[in-house]
Amino acid sequence: MKFKDLLVIETGPGLAGPLVTRTLADFGARVIKVESRTKLDFGKTRVPPPGKTAEDVLEAPGVMEMSGGKRSVSLNLKTEEGRELFCGLIDLADVYVESYAPGWLERIGLSVQLFAQRNPRLITLSQSAFGADGPRRDQRAYAPLMTAAAGVESTVGYEDGRIVPQIASAVGDVVAAYFGNLLVLSALYERERTGRGAMIDMSQTEASAAMAGIAVAEYGLSGDVPRPRGNSDPRAVPHGVYRTAGDDDWVALAVWNDDEWQVLCTSLGIADKDRERFATGASRIAASGEVDAIISACVATEKRDALWERLQADGLSCTPILDIYEADDFPALVERGLWTEFQHPRTGSLRMTEIPWNFDHLDLRRREWAEPIGTSTNQILTELLGATPEQLDVWNAAGVLR
């Protein structure tokens, strides 16, 4: 079955699960987001900032990122008819992705086991914070909590030992999403060959812990607890960020061998005595603080962009530290098609993020805006489940389609 022939159903808030199904939508799959006005995604219930309204929140760019290309069907799963309609969609689906806390389906009389029995070719991905079982099963969590519990955050910080979290970036969500992608795609590949569906119970915190795998392996091999290392790498000195002239301008610079060190010394005008003292990797590693201080002094008055362009031309690993607004317009990202400009009917032009995979042939791209909640309810229920206008009226009146 090709991607464009897949039917995918999604329930769940936030980023992790929705990004899995958005990826499938970008491949051309038909993705239906089943949601309810009785329990909105927390991304749609943010406190509106000054000057914004609750309606703006419903169509905020973050919501658009996660739900692009999907159809929205509103169903109140607390009603019996709502559950029957939902099961009807599940019966037709190839993939079902859910990312609420464990037990929510069971509380309304449903389960992924039930879905699998009704539809043996179905692939279900359940993405909860800690997995479907275990002592932390019911613990509530968001991405930065998962990376904290997983041992990731304790490795980020300065070389003096201060931990500084990646709290603005919520890496745990995205990592969970891409693990979800890998698992669902692998299950689809297997189903092509065997006809078997699969039920996948994924822990988002385990996904984050997988990112701490090298640190965990170091601990296992040495018995020493990995601590923050700043921007250093044990195999290269210099390997760090260096401040240049300007308000908050920095470059990332690494030297990987002794030849590169000689090139750097020439380019920066490093004194001969220092060039010689630190001519070998071992000597630079043994005095990394001194080497860093020498380089910092050399680059402090240089303009960032002139510096990194010159060092690149010299064959060295040097690039600018871009802030996120600069990254928006940086040619090495823009020209790879990482962003796409869209005109939203209400909020105007917005630049959205593409899935960062490039193919010669596979067609992976954002196709449509996210729909407002319930936009496709009538059409989908009619088309897929044969609902009549009279039935839709009855369900609407009974709150089934809220």
């Binding site: 043996p120 079982d133 519990a149 490795t155 091999l221 590693i285 020209e335």
Partner: protein, 379 residues
Amino acid sequence: MSANATITTTSRIASRPLAGVQVLEYGTGVGVGYCGALLADLGADVVKIHAPRDVPGEDAVLRTRAETLYLDSDKTTVHESVGAEAFRSRFSSVDIVLRGYEPSDGAAPDLRREYESWGGGNADLIFVAVTPFGVTGPGSGWHGGDLNAQGLSGWTSITGMPGEAPLSMSYGIGALQHGLNAAGATVAALIERGHDQGGEFVDVSEADVIAACIRMYSLTYRFLGIPLKRNGLRAPGSSGRYPHTILPCKDGYISTICRSETDWNRFLAMMGSPAWGDDPRYRDFFAMATDYPDEVDDLIIPWLMEHTKDQLAELATTFKVPLAPVRTADEVVREPQFEHRGFFRQRTLDGQEVIVPGRVAHWTVLDAGAVDPDGGHSV
């Protein structure tokens, strides 16, 4: 749908959806190594071309051994001269070539040309370029690695203390994300190859992967009107709702976020419902987040300092509060939740047994006997 399937549980290790897929991995880098490791974990037969390199110093040796242990344990490692005729001949029929590149390898190779030379003898080949900046665009020939890719992405600029150096992810965390993305893209190409499409050239850059990740979040900050820049232990402007931060406790740190009024009410209940919690000043969620978060911290920290990480984790579970301890590696490997789910697995390097993270999911399959493999439905 009328079929009733028998559900058969398999262990997370035994499930091998990519069984029979032949993969060749060469070139250096954590990204390509992790891509190969993930495919191997899912059942593919991965052959890695060993590329030894001399590293100076104890820490460097430890890092290299840790990477070998985590990334290569489930692969077949061989010593071959890449590019030699015998090499091409031996691996001419593989399904997938994973090609990494790092600055320590020297000048950036022309991977498009390399793919074409492989594809000449194998029209169905999937060639995956796992590089810092990609094989197209102005950065395609640049020198650089994990540190540089993170810096370009915008990620580094937002991590760190205000006024101090920006921080990148260390211990290969950025490159592991790169490898994870490359693995997903590889399997997508594998699925499509089974239809009317033949081979595929896949290009996944670390700069793209990290930039896409942070940008998805930056849109929310832009919507909230909060500048996204490094802000120490707290998310900038608490991302619009207090708290969204790391705070100290008796034996370390905890991370906590409240996304709703319910979350905040539970947090206060966990603290024993202090009287200040009813003050309207501490019910204005956006103002607490953006205008006086330090003031609210000062009300909470004394209570946190009376509790250990483990005690707070228990309380958080009881009160359903989004809060987690900031765990270190030694704590993570003893965490009962991971142990319960059998997450860690044992691997051996030079006779030393070490546990490392395993598969992140329990995988349950349906009994094939109950299912018609050619069945299915049209939508």
